[in-house]
Amino acid sequence: MSERIFTAVGTRPVRHDGVDKVTGRANYGADLSLPGMLHGVVVRSPHAHARIRSIDTQAAAAVPGVKGILTGKDFALTNAKLGLGEGAMDLKDMSDNLLAREKALYHGHAVAAVVATSVTAAQEAARLVQVDYDVLEPVLSVDRAMEADAPILHESMVTQAHPAVEPAGSTNVAGRMELKRGDIEAGFKEADIIVERVFRTPTSHQGYIEPHACVVRVNEDGRINIWTTTQGPFLVRDATAAILGLDAANLKVTPSEIGGGFGGKIPVYLEPLAVLLARMTQRPVKMVMTRDEVFRASGPTSATKVRLKMGARKDGTIVAASASLYYEAGAYRGSPSGAGAMCMLAPYSVPNFFIEAYDVVVNKPKVAAYRAPGSPMAALATESVIDEIAQTLGLDQIEMRLQNAVKEGDRAPYGPPYGPIGFRQVLEAVRNSAHWKSPVAPGIGRGLACGFWFNAGMSSSATVTLGSDGSAAVVTGNPDIGGTRVAQAQMVAEELGIPVERVRPIVADTDTAGFTEITAGSRTCYATGMAVIDASRDVREQLRGRAAKIWGVPLDETRWEHGSVAPVNPSAERTALTVSELASKLAKTGGPIIGHAAVNPPMAGPAFAAHICDLEVDRETGRSRVVRYTAIQDAGKAVHPSYVEGQMQGGASQGIGWALNEEYIYSANGVMENAGFLDYRMPVASDLPMIDTIIVEVPHPAHPYGVRGVGEVPIVPPLGAVANAMSHATGLRFTELPLSPPRVLERITQGS
């Protein structure tokens, strides 16, 4: 595989959807309008925790232009679950999240929806919906949630524990899992040094720039069309149908261009409401969230508390680790604490460990997936503690990591042995990098941190059609968030030996594309890419058949050569036919050629990354600046290196924001006080330097080109890299994010 010479894969063509996106023609979620369209607006709870006594919609209904009002009474909670590969989705919770039934569980929880002829009328009516609340004490941290006298969010909650335990009364602990290896006590006895720290990270948001938006139209025949901005059109179809008790075959979901997701555009927030409102009024209905709503009611990621105790010998060998992870799930169960537990020691070979992970509900919006869900917060703990051990022992940061780094054949903390992985190569690349070799300037702290993430497989489909002009179209069902169309076109071009500009990549609706799982889990280039490659090879096989027909020879007397079919026994009349030549004879040789493939590959070769951060700290204000940053990552095989670099740079930037400034600031009664981009401080261009990248390529054995997922792992190292840099710059250990100026200044002033 490594010897394979690529022609299209590994090049940097212009993306096919690019011109539409730089000229403003590309249509995103909020860009569609239909004749006669109404506008839906959601009424949201002003309390973080409150029982809903009654809802009076009379005054709202009287507003001119109002066409309908929806409350929790208008559709029943479903008990259905939707199996979706990376974990079944509890639709009862999702349904209750769409519109609160008994209780509002966070500030911003939807309690009603109004549809009117204009946004203004709908907003005015929404203000007039009168909800009688019995306000309850909000639970705003895992510490409070787990106290014996804490208010309980869900009276019926039972801890889903692995291994199983006897249920013990009312609880806010939605889940608990353990990972163990070896003998933890014996392990710590071997240690010359033991470091134990507790780390905290705040609630933070994916921060995609495009708010959630959809348009729904019910056709005269009852079929329902949903246009929406989503990472998973099939998921929107299936979840909406199940929540509303509809036949999924009656729903067609067309994904718009998507303005960022990072996991946050996996759940449904608006679509089922818009379907109900469209059926109620028999008019198209558009719903668009405001930025305020995006912050208050869509997917943040968990605030976390992670305790890690790690022991090592003097030479840096890690001998034992014990950890407890407490992740906020938000209002309903489902934090990524389990993934955090699986990832936190994954880069290192630790003979004895015990990790327990808790999933805890609190009165905040239900967390959604966020890029490598759960891993960054766990890696912060691991990488900070390793940094401290290396520093205390006077060991080189890279040497200590290399000494413990996993290699092929070592068992992952979650069980099976690794296949070929690139972690050591990544660390070697760090050591050889210009950045690492450069001296650290005075007043600067340099931090190193590593990260691990899986590479999801799951179902994907692809269709490749060959035109009589020798061009091809490839149809898949994954919304293109960051250049996956061009990557898929490159794969078709690679397989058929035609120019990438002659391939048209198409993201299709749920009626047109074969079933395909979400654009998430670093899976699009890997899993959907495999379907694209297989579908292209199907085309190739059919082309061989056409050549055999033209030559009047059996199929096995033809063979594929890059871009053409060649006769096994050439003669004057029988010379290789190019794809274009064969395509021009399609009608004469049997009609059009369509190749298809559907796959469900396993989750295999994971991705590793390491980041280097140079941080400058102003000791008088506590303000810090990233002055140099390098991201190193094993991509397996970079299909379009520019977009791989882009994922690495984007992940680094998001992680830097998380580490330095981003956080939900809550009032005592559970109201987010900074629900806007001015106060929820994401990195802007002037906050960052250029972000250098080094792509390492250790081929993934489960993929024909060796592709590993690249989208998620680059957000795993930054929290640790920035925190370690801050520690080295100030001489103080920082264990609580964000490292915002007030917090840093306070520590510097205290001098401890």
Binding site: L84, G85, E86, G87, A88, M89, D90, Q160, H162, P163, A164, M177, E178, L179, K180, R181, G263, I266, P267, G299, T301, S302, R333, G334, S335, P336, G338, A339, A341, M342, V367, A368, A369, Y370, P373, G374, Y414, G415, P416, P417, Y418, G419, F454, A456, G457, M458, A520, G521, N600, P602, M603, A604, A702
Partner: protein, 82 residues
Amino acid sequence: MAIVHFSSTLTRHTGGLHQITMDAPRVHELLEALVARFPGLAYELEHLAVAIDGEVRPDAAYEALTSQSEIYFVPKIAGGFN
């Protein structure tokens, strides 16, 4: 005979065994046989994915096993949207 590995959290149901070998044509039959022998595993296995030779498969029931197959049980990744 496929080699089945049990993590420390599962050994409480296997009488302390970390590893057994078992003859089963597919994952489906393997799981049935495991639960028949160690009934306590039923609940845990329902919530775990199967890794065959290092490849994690959430939908593994009909995957064929060979005498060399190495089986591990792996937590499913919830990813924050379940």
